[in-house]
Amino acid sequence: MVVVGAGIVGAATCYFLSKRGFRVRLIEAAAPAAAASGAADGAVSVASKRPGPMMTAALAGIALYRQLEQDGLFAGLFKSRPTVMVAENEKEAERLVEHAAALASEGMGLRYFEGGALRRHLPGVAPHVRLAVEVGEEGHAIGYEIVRRLIAASGVTVERGVAVTGLGPKDDGSGATAVRTALGVVEADHVVIAAGGGSAALLGLPHATQPRKGQLVVTERSPALAASLPGSLMSCRYLLSKDAIRVASAETGRRFGLVIDPLRTGQFLIGSTREERDDTGNDHDAVSRLLASAVKLMPALARLRVIRVFAGVRTATRDGLPIVGRMPGFENLLVATGFEGDGICLGPLIGREIARMVAGETTELDLTPFAPGRFELRSLVA
């Protein structure tokens, strides 16, 4: 088995394949969690999802985190906490009520807070906040910690700094797949491409994915203030921002989806922008606007200091759904990419499901909405 990409999806695939007794090689162009997995906000969350395949997947993803934490694999790495969605004006409140109704229709347990109850439950939020909806049973995990744990538990040594230059079937018609790398051709019974933004070009899926940058901010420690929040605060504008992208995906503008996440360390992680770009720089304009929104929502943040800013590039798809499954015409070539902002939540789950596919079993999660065949393919064999 060859897995290309040591982000969270590749690491999880490597772990679940190894656990089944397969001999796995994990090939990575840079280093583990070097791209999006190492710059993610770490949300293991369903709160912003609408009913549909992504919500189903997110719920299964969260359940797997819980199970792996109990099993010991993720011990100490999964922080269970709710997401609190907040509406700051009438328009947002309407949108939130609508969204909450959709979540409730899927049987999710929600708590609504208004007026005095809201003030008591969320003493740190600004008085203008009208409505809060708490989505329980969610959590937070740090991508690079999960990746490290998965790789260590798999017993596989990552082949670092090995770029994959191309793919194709073996000449002998055996059905095996060959991976061309800078260090030579690697043959395998199965090849799994989990190379994030690099996957589409390798697989001959031009334009199926696009980079979407996010800038984030980390504060100094403030354990008392962090403890005053029951979980992460998510501005409802996050939902409106997602809507906007669905309407005009080719737009080049910048959107802000504010999430204020209190970390285990007592620090706050504040994110993030959604920009149609693929660089990882930070600009004052974006960071200062993001922080202004954060302070408006939670005024006490103003007295904390920023110690670090960073940025990551999500791999988004044209239709907002990830690309997971067998490549049409290539029995032994599988792909798992395009998770945009859900890689941390879905990575372990998808790794488990890919391992099932490789083993010839039926997947537990219905992966047909994510099938790569929905995109136009370009021949892989030049």
Partner: protein, 441 residues
């Protein structure tokens, strides 16, 4: 799109010490519109650090004071009004320089064509078991405190380390009537006659050193050369330093404050390294090469000339004979103070020694990470190992972490624990948050 910048100028000079002031003067004389910013409440840098809030100067009427007032006169003559209490945070990805105006409580953006970074040197302090304890400070930091307050700190001081600054601090303490308990020196200049002879070529320096030594000696501060500190512990509310001499014999010295110093090096931390995207970025003075004040002033002027040439599209070369001269001085001083024994450096430190003081990460934790079969990279050492991830963001530990990585894994190519993102210093959210909040573009 971005809002317009708060400040627009031809050149931004960061740092109001000798190099920065000299650079600002020369840029102005060349007809450029210059902004000079200084993070402290007053210009002066480390060498010309000014007394704060009505305190009296420690060395009034000296050659030092006269040189500084000459530089200030030049600055006034050039018409530069410096901005004090402005901390440089870096250059953002859109090419805007960012300043934290600590008095105004706002981050100011600067659109400029050139940045001259003249932020001086930083003190080298090597980790030692117990150096994270309260009461352990740096000798240079203590010297700055004395220059600003005009007073000695409360409690007895033990000075430990390597290089001439330790003696200068002992002389300052003696001058204030509060002599240090002792100065522990890893080198032994008395046993380096050839270097001492070469010192004779620099009479000004010899006179200054002799004066400091005489004052320290007269105050009864012992100078324990060829010795090193092995551990610091806390006992009955005081610090207990274990000292080992050149023959391996140990003794213990009690003090309220232990001031460490292992030399100085250029400050490059979190600063834009070079010219990029059309923005000219030059480094000047001790932050380019730590050679002291007279070299810094000369290099500041030379950097300004280089910037003017670059901005007019001409080729440019830095030329300053004084820099070459001071490089020779520093070479002589380095051989004079070369440590008597090789104590194994960082590689010899016990596992429990704290390496990152912000997050309490130890030498042993880094060693464990480095001896895993998977050769972790710099980014993983930071993210997973939590080295350089605290409030200082590696300002105080990155070099030591780097050195230990090289010592444990000499074969691997050294990957720097990079710190190329703004903010170079922690900055208040209230100062950084925009007046208007996020909006869709």
């Amino acid at each position: 799109m971005d809002r317009p910048a708060d400040i627009v100028c031809d050149a931004l000079v960061v740092g109001g010490g000798a190099a920065g002031v000299a650079a600002a003067v020369e840029l102005c004389r060349a007809g450029l519109n210059v902004e000079l910013v200084e993070q402290r409440p007053a210009l002066g840098g480390a060498y010309y650090r000014q007394p704060a809030g009505g305190a009296t100067a420690t060395r009034p009427g000296s050659r030092r004071a006269r040189q500084w007032s000459r530089l200030l006169d030049e600055l006034r003559g050039a018409g530069v009004t410096p901005r004090e209490c402005h901390v440089f945070l870096g250059v953002d990805t859109h090419g805007l320089a960012l300043l934290d105006d600590r008095k105004g409580g706002r981050v100011r953006t600067v659109r400029t064509r050139a940045v001259i970074v003249a932020v001086g040197a930083v003190e080298r302090v090597l980790p030692r078991p117990g150096w994270q304890l309260e009461g352990v400070v740096t000798a240079g930091g203590l010297q700055m405190l004395i220059k600003e307050s005009g007073e000695a700190p409360t409690g007895s001081v033990l000075i430990v380390g390597n290089g001439p600054l330790t003696v200068a601090l002992a002389a300052d303490l003696a001058r204030l009537g509060r002599p240090a308990v002792a100065v522990i020196e890893a080198g032994d200049p008395m046993t380096r006659p050839s270097a001492a002879l070469r010192m004779a070529a620099f009479p000004g320096l010899v006179a200054e050193a002799a004066a400091d030594l005489t004052r320290m000696h007269a105050a009864g501060t012992p100078w324990l050369r060829g010795s090193r500190l092995t551990t610091i512990t806390r006992e009955d509310g005081r610090l207990l330093a274990s000292i080992e001499d050149r023959n391996g014999a140990s003794r213990q010295i009690r003090a309220d404050i232990v001031a460490l110093h292992d030399g100085i090096r250029p400050n490059h931390f979190g600063l834009p390294p070079t010219t990029r995207d059309g923005l000219v970025v030059l480094h000047a003075g001790d932050c380019r090469e730590a050679l002291g004040v007279s070299s810094a002033e000369a290099d500041g002027r030379a950097a300004a000339r280089e910037a003017v040439a670059l901005l007019s599209g001409a080729a440019a070369q830095r030329h300053a004979p004084e820099v070459t001269r001071q490089r020779r001085v520093q070479a002589v001083l380095a051989s004079l103070f070369r440590p008597i024994r090789d104590d194994g450096g960082l590689a010899a430190l016990p596992d429990e020694t704290v390496l990152c003081r912000c997050e309490g990460r130890t030498v042993g934790q880094l060693r464990a990470m480095l001896t895993e079969p998977d050769p972790v990279g710099a980014r993983e050492i930071k993210l997973n190992g939590r080295f350089g991830m605290g409030p200082c963001q590696g300002r105080f530990c990155a070099d030591n972490v780097q050195a230990l990585v090289s010592a444990v894994r000499p074969a691997s190519q050294t990957v720097p624990l990079s710190r190329d993102r703004w903010p170079a210093r922690p900055v208040l959210i209230s100062a950084l948050a925009a007046e208007e909040e996020a909006r869709e573009e």
